[in-house]
């Protein structure tokens, strides 16, 4: 992770944006605070960014900002949940998640008509993982439970989902964003999913 940092100066040179834009986007919460990594260098303290994330984000902002207000962009990028809920028929009609995922949810929470945003994200993440083919349906049930029980505890802060398998037994972890994790030799990290990027994808789907 450490080698994928870019200094502020290099970032501005690479993307052609100005200091003012960078600071304005930070003020508008388009760039999260925890991407500003302060490290000491031989010229004193410098600010670094996670390279891939920041380049992708700036690319999006630059492309979208002419047609979208900065506040709307901030909503799009924010990992917090908006107060929307969706009807079952809308979800099926707009093909947001597959029917298999929806069925799995129904098995777990009983019959429903309206999905809160929180639940929707859980199903969306489930769907994404099922589509990769790396997760079985039974494991999906555990995932749904983890997300339903614990995701709201992060209270809008960014978090990552870890999918770990050891000797055929699967387990899921929710950890706060960008933290480092080390596993024992026998355990395999099947997938690390940044929940906030799933939310971003979901929001683009919905709008």
């Amino acid at each position: 992770m450490e080698d994928h940092l870019i200094s502020k100066k290099d970032l501005l040179e690479l993307t052609g944006i100005s200091y003012g834009q960078l600071y304005r986007w930070k003020r508008k919460d388009l760039i999260p605070e925890d991407w500003f990594i302060r490290k000491s260098t031989f010229t004193g303290q410098e600010t670094f960014f996670p390279k891939d994330k920041i380049l992708e984000r700036i690319d999006k902002i630059v492309n979208l900002k002419d047609n979208t207000s900065l506040d709307d962009l901030a909503d799009l990028f924010s990992p917090s949940l908006t107060e929307t809920a969706l009807y079952k028929k809308d979800i099926i009609e707009r093909n947001i998640v597959s029917e298999i995922s929806l069925k799995l949810l129904t098995d777990q929470i009983g019959d429903w008509d309206v999905l809160t945003y929180e639940r929707l994200i859980a199903v969306y993440v489930l769907d994404q993982l099922l589509l990769t083919g790396e997760m079985s349906l039974d494991e999906g049930k555990i995932l749904l439970q983890v997300l339903n029980d614990h995701y709201k505890k992060f209270d809008g802060k960014s978090c990552d989902l870890l999918f770990i398998r050891k000797m055929g037994i699967a387990t899921f972890l929710l950890i706060s964003g960008a933290s480092e994790v080390y596993l024992e030799n026998n355990a395999k990290l099947v997938k690390r999913l940044v929940i906030s990027s799933s939310i971003e994808a979901l929001k683009t789907h919905l709008s």
């Binding site: 600071y23 304005r24 930070k26 003020r27 004193g44």
Partner: protein, 245 residues
């Protein structure tokens, strides 16, 4: 909750009240509010001590107010001293006295006619006035136009338009305050780095100044200047290195 359902509190003398949702809170004397407060207007002439979180629309202090939790105000006037131990969000603020924030300060517009002290970061869209500031973290201001009347510090300053000048003349509202002290200290801004689009500085000591258009005025002492478009330097400013990038 409707305004009709909200009750008023008025404290004259010394008293304490419980937290809750109120319409108007007025404290004349010494008041202690225990718990979280959500009110429409808050006025304090004297001393107020709030132990929880605080939310209000119109907020006026003529005395001392201490909030132990976070503060979120729409319109804020501080004529005395206000201390916030959590984060403070002040949409439209006017500081005629002193504002201390032990965590981060967020706001849209801040008129500074006194002193603002922030232990964390400070994010304000428009910051202007005459006074002084002390920000331990990053001062992120879209438009910043401040005349300094007192030594000011910030670890980093970032923004679009940054103008810091030495106070013009002695006339100013801080004069009476400073007259109490025999010697007026040098109203100098000290910062590690200042980054922005258009930067105009006077009487500033900084390690790095980086921007598109940079003007280094009299009394500055800058280690490195990096600019993209234009660069001006006053004759008595000390700049060790400057380069166009």
């Amino acid at each position: 909750m409707n305004t009709q359902d909200r009750q008023n509190i008025r404290i004259t003398g010394t008293a304490s009240a419980a937290g809750g949702t109120y319409n108007q809170i007025r404290i004349m004397g010494e008041g202690k509010l225990t718990g979280d407060i959500d009110c429409i207007t808050f006025g304090c002439t004297g001393t107020a001590d709030i132990t929880g979180q605080f939310v209000s629309q119109i907020f006026k202090v003529h005395g001392t107010t201490v909030v132990n939790g976070t503060v979120s105000n729409d319109k804020t006037t501080v004529n005395g001293e206000m201390t916030v131990h959590g984060d403070a969000t002040i949409r439209d603020g006017k500081i005629n006295g002193q504002l201390n924030v032990k965590n981060n300060l967020f706001g849209q517009e801040l008129k500074l006619y006194g002193m603002v002290q922030v232990d964390g970061d400070c994010e304000i869209d428009r910051l202007y006035g005459k006074g002084a500031f002390d920000v331990k973290g990053l001062l992120n201001a879209g438009q910043m136009d401040v005349q300094l009347y007192w030594p000011s510090q910030a670890n980093e300053i970032g923004g679009e338009h940054i103008t810091v000048k030495k106070a013009q003349g002695i006339s100013g509202m801080m004069k009476s305050l400073f007259d109490m002290f025999k010697i007026q200290p040098d109203a100098r801004l000290t910062a590690r780095s200042i980054e922005g689009d258009d930067i105009v500085l006077e009487n500033t000591t900084a390690q790095f100044v980086r921007g598109n258009n940079v003007t280094i005025g009299p009394g500055c002492h800058i280690e490195h200047v990096e600019y993209r478009n234009t660069y001006n330097q006053a004759s008595d400013a000390i700049v060790n290195h400057y380069s166009q990038v």
